[in-house]
């Protein structure tokens, strides 16, 4: 087996530490999502865990669950004809950055994916796309928060003045 330890100087770790900028579309306490600067399709989004994990082989199962929850959420904010999700592990599995991540690539009918490591997208295009996605994430988050609160209402007890018991 080759070395599979986590290297904290990979580019995603630098993005997480704020040393390298990114076109952010979503962030919470466990997950960060941003646009790939070398998109294989328009709005190609990368979703990464904040935990220092190399890939799916070493990540804690609960950290993975948080990441997958975010993938589920962001998948709803990338309108297209289809969506291809890829997650690569080790170089043989096409992993290039050794920090656990998912690629979300919105697809149009009949348009093939570009090769990985292609041309760098214009920053103004990425900024505009990131704004759009961030807005739809916040709308969906808000809707789901609302629904979760409605569902929770049946589970929690309140006194006559509406105070939580």
């Amino acid at each position: 087996m080759k070395s599979t330890s986590y290297d904290s100087n990979n580019i995603f770790a630098k993005i997480l530490r704020g040393e390298v900028p990114c076109h952010k579309v979503y962030e919470d306490d466990k997950v960060l999502a941003f646009l790939d600067v070398r998109p294989r399709a328009p709005k190609h989004t990368v979703v990464i865990a904040k935990a220092p994990a190399r890939n799916i082989l070493d990540v804690d199962s609960d950290e993975l669950a948080h990441l997958v929850n975010a993938v589920w959420l962001i998948a709803r904010c990338l309108p297209a004809d289809g969506l291809t999700i890829e997650q690569h592990n080790e170089s043989a599995g096409d992993q290039e950055v050794f920090h656990l991540h998912f690629h979300l690539m919105p697809r149009q009918e009949g348009v093939p994916l570009k090769a990985p490591g292609g041309e760098i997208e214009k920053p103004e295009t990425l900024t505009k796309q990131a704004e759009h996605i961030e807005l739809s994430v916040s709308l969906i988050w808000n809707m789901m928060w609302n629904q979760a609160a409605e569902e929770a209402a049946g589970r929690f007890l309140f006194d006559a003045d509406g105070r939580l018991l």
């Binding site: 609960d62 004809d81 997650q87 080790e90 009949g110 929770a152 509406g162």
Partner: protein
């Protein structure tokens, strides 16, 4: 203790409605968080495998999911994990369906690294034909990879049944039952924290 009520219209919903008004959103929240754009075809090949009408080289099964070897492998040991719920794509499912399938994919990936002595794993999840989905039932591909060997094209040559049976038996033996623990997007604790924060305000 004072009288206890179960209220549908509680502080959460009041506050959230106020927030929605502030942001200029419609006051009534949608009744479902599903944004389904498609319907489910109960006669797709995975549905028939789930019903037992078509055999498969099973690798893992629990009450929520089934994993088996792809008969058109893109690399030796290519496994498909699918949810047992009748769901077409990621847009039809709840987060827990995807989490269950991905947790199992993780266990299969780890087992495949050992069993097939490969160098890496590629995981793919395709949605709609534009997204390279060939069977309209929510599933994840777990593909063992060897350095320098590219993936074969999808739907290539059918693998021999005895090869698949041997691989499935070895892989199945290396996988322990996957415990399912739901990690909700909105946990009870998060909601309670939020409610208490609001209560503390004058």
């Amino acid at each position: 203790m004072s009288t206890v009520h179960h209220r549908r219209d509680n502080i959460f919903t009041k506050i959230l409605r106020a927030l929605r008004r502030l942001r200029g959103l419609p006051a009534a929240p949608p009744t479902s968080r599903r944004s389904s754009i498609s319907h489910y075809d109960p006669n797709n090949i995975f549905a028939r495998i789930l019903r037992g009408e078509i055999p498969c080289h099973k690798v893992y099964e629990d009450e929520n999911a089934l994993a088996f070897l792809d008969i058109w492998p893109r690399a030796p040991g290519h496994t498909v994990v699918l949810t047992k719920a009748p769901l077409r794509t990621i847009l039809d499912c709840e987060p827990e369906h995807l989490v269950q399938v991905m947790r199992i994919a993780q266990h299969i990936a780890r087992a495949a690294m050992q069993v097939f002595a490969v160098d890496g794993i590629t995981i793919q999840q395709c949605n709609e034909s534009a997204g390279a989905q060939t069977v309209p039932h929510l599933h994840v591909h777990v593909i063992p990879r060897i350095t320098g060997v590219p993936l074969k094209p999808p739907n290539g040559k059918t693998e021999k049944a005895e090869v698949l049976a041997d691989q499935a038996a070895r892989l199945a033996a290396a996988i322990k039952p996957v415990a399912f623990k739901e990690i909700p997007l909105f946990s009870r604790d998060a909601l309670l924290d939020y409610a208490r924060q609001i209560e503390r305000r004058p």
